[in-house]
Amino acid sequence: MKLKQLEGLLGSLEQFYNPKIELEQYPTGSHIASRMLYTAENSFGDVTNKVVADFGCGCGTLGIAAALLGAQHVVGLDIDAESLEIASENADELELDMEFVQCDIRNLRWEGQIIDTVVMNPPFGTRRKGADMDFLCVALKVASEAVYSLHKTTTREHVRRTALRDCHASSAEVLCELRYDVPHLYKFHKKKEVDIAVDLWRFVPKKNQ
């Protein structure tokens, strides 16, 4: 599938009706999501025929992108039932088989090493400090091949240090810097729309932890 085609399909997905600020629910734009998964597959072969988990999947954009690129088994995990409902409808709409589990990523316990790749757009930790690093540490435990994640560019050194020192990453690499459009979703947003710089990361877990 071509990048433009992937971006187009993702652009048709339903997004949050009533976003919940305490969960830092922001939609992952089709521009970013398509580039993230396209890079994961075309540069690293981490998607097609793989088992992929989408952490904090929200409306399912990243997981659906993985399924569109031929992932064999995709599981979306989120704490919020309403989001999972939308994600499930989104997957149905595109006739994709995608699995969902309602859970809190922070206390996920997973058996074995079945997951190859984790993709995620974690809460950036602006509401609850450290939320993104909590997600990352669990992702690096669960994934056997790679973790793709978005983090604010301003936190780059912190993310690198934490991943390598505390989360058992064997490597942490910024693949590119992207603009994340934050639409005017919440009342405390003063500006109509802002974009912030985010890094697309690829982390590789240490084996046999």
């Binding site: 999972l84 499930s88 079945i114």
Partner: protein
């Protein structure tokens, strides 16, 4: 929920040491066909808990998988197709997952297991 997903889920209650496999109680099973991908299945065979899959598939009403399997059986198309069906095509649509250690029940509605914990279980 496919049995592949069931094969990775574990009871996540604080203090539980033996949370796998979750026992399945069935209300409704559905079957959804998936393209047969032998390479994927061979790769999965090495990663999954086969015994848990066999038990789960029987509870779901599919009794075709042998009790024991070894890698040499992956050369058999017949075995691979059964393995494929059990792992990828059987879905628990409605039912319950039960923690083997505490008996705590996790509901499955519309194919989605709810693994959220209460405050005193975290």
């Amino acid at each position: 929920m496919r049995l592949l997903t069931h094969n990775m889920l574990s009871s996540n209650i604080k203090g539980v040491t033996n949370g796998f496999p979750l026992r399945i109680e069935v209300e409704k099973v559905v079957e959804k066909s998936v393209d047969f991908n032998p390479d994927f299945l061979k790769n999965m065979f090495a990663k999954i808990e086969y015994k848990a899959l066999v038990e789960a598939s029987r509870i779901m009403g599919y009794a075709e998988l042998p009790d024991h399997a070894e890698p040499s059986m992956l050369e058999s198309d017949d075995f691979l197709r059964k393995f494929h069906h059990a792992l990828m095509e059987l879905h628990l649509e409605e039912g319950t997952l039960v923690c083997p250690e505490t008996g705590r029940r996790f509901p499955v509605n519309k194919g989605v297991p709810n693994m959220l914990l209460h405050e005193d279980e975290v």
